[in-house]
Amino acid sequence: MEWIKYILAFDAEHPLLFTQFYFWGFFALVYALFALIMDRVPDSLGNKKLHLRNVYLLFVSWFFYYKTSGLFLMLLAFVTLSDWIIAQQIHKSNIKNLKSPLPKILLALSVTIDLGFLAYFKYAYFLTDAFNDLFGTSYSIVDKIILPVGISFYTFQVISYTADVYHKRIEPVKNILDFGFYVSFFPQLVAGPIVRAAEFIPQLYKPFRLSRRAFGIAVFWIINGLAKKIIMSDFLAVNLIDRVFDNPLLFSGFENLFALFAYSLQVYADFSGYTDIAIGVAMLMGFYLPMNFNSPYKSQSPQEFWRRWHMSLGRWLKTYLYIPLGGNRSIGFGTYFWLTVIALVSATLTGWWLGIMIPFGVLVAAMIIVPRVIKDTNHLKLFYSNLNSFITQVMGGLWHGASWNFIIWGGINGFGMIIEKIWRPMNWHIRFVSITLLLIGLCVADSMTSLPVWRLFAVWTAIVWVVTAIRYIYFLLEGPENKFTKALGTAWAILQTFVFITFTRLFFRSSSNLDPATANEVAWATAKNMVNQIGGAWSNAIIPEFLWSYRWVVLMFIAGMVIHWLPTDWKRRYRLWFSAMPLWTMVLAVVAAIAVIYQFVTADVQPFIYFQF
């Protein structure tokens, strides 16, 4: 009986994950029945056959979700039902009376329900603390609130559906089971990609189609995803990254810095690996999910990075937040509203009411004055665009959780994008003078205070200054621009972007995997300790010893980055080469790949070594 319970019942200790053998056994069984439906049910039944397939996959998806999140399945079902009904009503009201306020009210209701659940699970601790601070009460959350798996993803998906129906971009789905399938499709339910209704729902009514090449590509994505997740992500995390972020003070500055860069690779490999598997699994069933990562560390600017990283979320934020805020056209109620929310949350989290409210007031004043003073449309567009994208970035940070570190993370990303936009068109004289002044300022700050954070910034700015100086001299000498110099410029832009994004991750990772009740305090302490170690406890002498002792970790990191930076064309070619393999060779290749991956699952962990005393 125990094994039946193990197979069928929810176990919080063992959620169903793509990296477990259980999942692949489950998938093989699911696929067997799927094949039976697709091959044995006659095509003459037409839509009924597709409907049978969809209903079957819906129940499979619900079982998958139950195995992953238990009774939170009820929440998923409720959100599905409420958005399906509301979207139907919006559509009917739209048809009946174009000027009726009802669709807007219904849309607001839907968003309130969806975001209400999300807010409860993500921000209950923060909201309780804020309420207590404000009214002097001492309420507390008795039971620990567990975040339902995938709630952020399916919430965004249902909001996009209802908003698209409201904006008449799509027709509502007539059959609730089809809609349920769209919301719950198991490959992408837990970690995306966030699929928009317009992209996915038409596929529900198309017959199964999987070309030989598409099959090969699907298998490739699955193996690629497993390798990323287990070799690059889990191996690096267990052997170095987690332990450094757990207690940065146990490690020297170099170890902290290395762990931070390794985390950049780990988080990419983890997230993109999972979505690679999702894309591959969906393809095997004839469904095509959108690309979610496009070699993000090849980006030459923060803006480009956000177009390549978690692309489905980026598109969602652009469509449903940035553009409604006004995009580059205007600022309106939404901009003021969300800016106020950000300021209030930041002040509550930090307790620095004056320190937050003064810049907030200055910004609001600028928002009122600038449109009246600046008449140049392009400059105004730049102002609106920067402001709205900054808010979008910070809200993107806050979406991850109510922690000051997440706000800083979003804020730094927002600032990075703005600064890059200003920096890029600058002429060389101004660039050089600006970076020189910045370097002098940081050196003065470092020598006056010796605070590690200034040391850290000063060192990196010095590197940027050296490269800028070389480029400036080259510009003054009117050196020729050719392929080589262009390639160097591109490499430098990629490196700068990678370093910048990695630095922002310091605040992101510090806030992750924490008990929400103490997350804010712990996250800030971790980030501060890491900066102090990197900027203040550096020791060149231990670097060779560290590199040798952690050679497997170092090699994996280097291999991961090299593969990531391979030209896109090369990757496309080996993908196609794999997909065109004879099937028996492909079986052997898959078995060999899994055997290698398995060695990393069973590998012993790197023992603890102290290099700094």
Binding site: Y31, A32, A35, M38, D246, L250, D515, G536
Partner: protein, 415 residues
């Protein structure tokens, strides 16, 4: 492709993998790290034989009250009988200072565990202050925020005066053995050719009142104190600073990162003997053994390490004849073997040898490993946020819990 073709592909792949698994039942074709462990779990005494303490996360400090201690433990089964000298000395706590030194590895860094022991003992027997700290604290403490200024300039501890550590790499060790009671020393003006050096240490205790400063330094070092600030001048060795009261219990946190504990015999005997005697050191807590576990897979090596620790105990007994010694063994520690997180096979063995050694040397022994619940208990600690993801270190909450348990265990040995 047709779905049944895809299904056939999946089935064949799984069949080949199944055959491979059958051929290599242990799952490993090759190792990233080769590991050969011997299972010593079966040789370990059962957990039930050892006391399991009630969970108590916080102990509310109460006003000090004089307690006449009386040893109540059964000398045949409970090693706390070896703490009798310490228990007896507590009678004097109302009129003089009684010192407890807590030496340990990274598990006690940041004043973890020690702060709980201090809070409990001071609440019952009086005393104030966090005790000794190094001149420049490279690892922040939870109980004292320390700031260092050299010639008026804020200085990171790593850039402060040169440090010598008995437990550090060779380049940080001294030939004369003059490390002071903390096993580490800061040398003022050591790296300067000429010119005077002035160092200011600002040590802000976090909720720990104290009555006065004590500076442990060469006589060539001059100092002045004001509030939470001490200014030092001159050339010489500074062994540590201390914020403490003149009576009651003072508990010093002395973490030695990465240390096996086999270092005390390298420390000057006269210096230690003088300090232990003058400062009324009546209890020495040694918390080591954990650092031997990850890199040693051979029981012979573990035995050799315990032999080394026995020599340290004997050395300390000679240096501090009036003090009791309590040895705290390693906690449960996890590693990944064959893809499964599990206790390092050497932990139970190390625990058993340490306990045996302690009883033979007439010192008390607290088995952190068994108190936690034995093999695999660290996983349960991780689940409830008491231990970190490395499977080795406690979180702050975990250290608080363990520190309280040790303090309660000590006190429960008396009326």
């Amino acid at each position: 492709m047709k779905p049944y073709q895809v299904l056939s592909f999946i089935a064949i792949t799984m069949a080949v993998l199944g055959a491979l698994y059958w051929a290599f039942p242990e799952g490993k074709v090759w190792h990233i790290e080769s590991a050969e462990y011997t299972d010593y779990t079966e040789n370990t005494d059962t957990i039930a034989e050892f006391p399991v303490f009630a969970e108590q996360d916080t102990i509310v400090p109460v006003a000090p009250k004089p307690v006449i201690p009386k040893v109540v433990v059964d000398s045949t089964t409970d090693s706390r009988v070896f703490l009798s000298a310490f228990y007896a000395s507590l009678q004097e706590a109302a009129t003089r200072k009684i010192r407890v030194l807590h030496y340990g590895d990274s598990q006690i860094e940041e004043d973890r565990m020690t702060m709980q022991i201090r809070d409990v003992l001071q609440a019952r027997y009086g005393g104030a202050g966090v005790g000794m700290m190094p001149l420049a604290q490279t690892i922040p403490s939870l109980t004292v925020k320390q700031e260092l200024r050299m010639n008026g300039r804020f200085t990171m501890p790593a850039n402060g005066p040169r440090r010598y550590m008995v437990y550090g790499p060779k380049s940080t060790q001294r030939k004369d053995g003059l490390y002071g009671p903390m096993g580490q020393v800061a040398a003022m003006n050591d790296s300067l050719v000429a010119g005077s050096e002035e160092i200011t240490a600002i040590c802000r205790p976090q909720g720990h009142p104290y009555e006065h400063w004590q500076v442990l330094a060469d006589s060539s070092i001059h100092y002045t104190t004001s509030g939470d600030t001490v200014q030092l001048y001159g050339k010489g060795l500074v062994y540590g600073l201390s914020q403490e009261s003149e009576t009651g219990i003072i508990v010093d946190n002395i973490p030695m990162r990465g240390c096996l504990g086999i270092v005390f015999t390298k420390m000057d005997e006269t210096q230690l003997r003088t300090f232990y005697d003058k400062e009324h050191v009546r209890l020495i807590i040694l918390q080591f053994g954990g650092n031997a576990i990850p890199s040693n897979r051979n029981p012979g090596t573990i035995s050799a390490i315990v032999k080394g620790l026995r020599e340290q105990v004997q050395y300390l007994q000679a240096c501090a004849p009036e003090a009791s010694i309590l040895f705290i063994g390693p906690s449960d520690m996890l590693t990944q073997l064959d893809g499964e997180w599990q206790t390092y096979p050497m932990v139970p063995y190390m625990d058993k040898l340490l306990r045996k050694m302690a009883l033979e040397e007439n010192i008390a022994y607290f088995s952190l490993f068994r108190w936690m619940g034995g093999a695999g208990s660290m996983m349960r600690w991780q689940e409830v946020g008491l231990a970190g993801t490395d499977g080795v270190h406690f979180t702050r909450a975990g250290a608080r819990k363990a520190g309280n348990a040790v303090a309660e265990w000590i006190l429960n040995g008396m009326d």
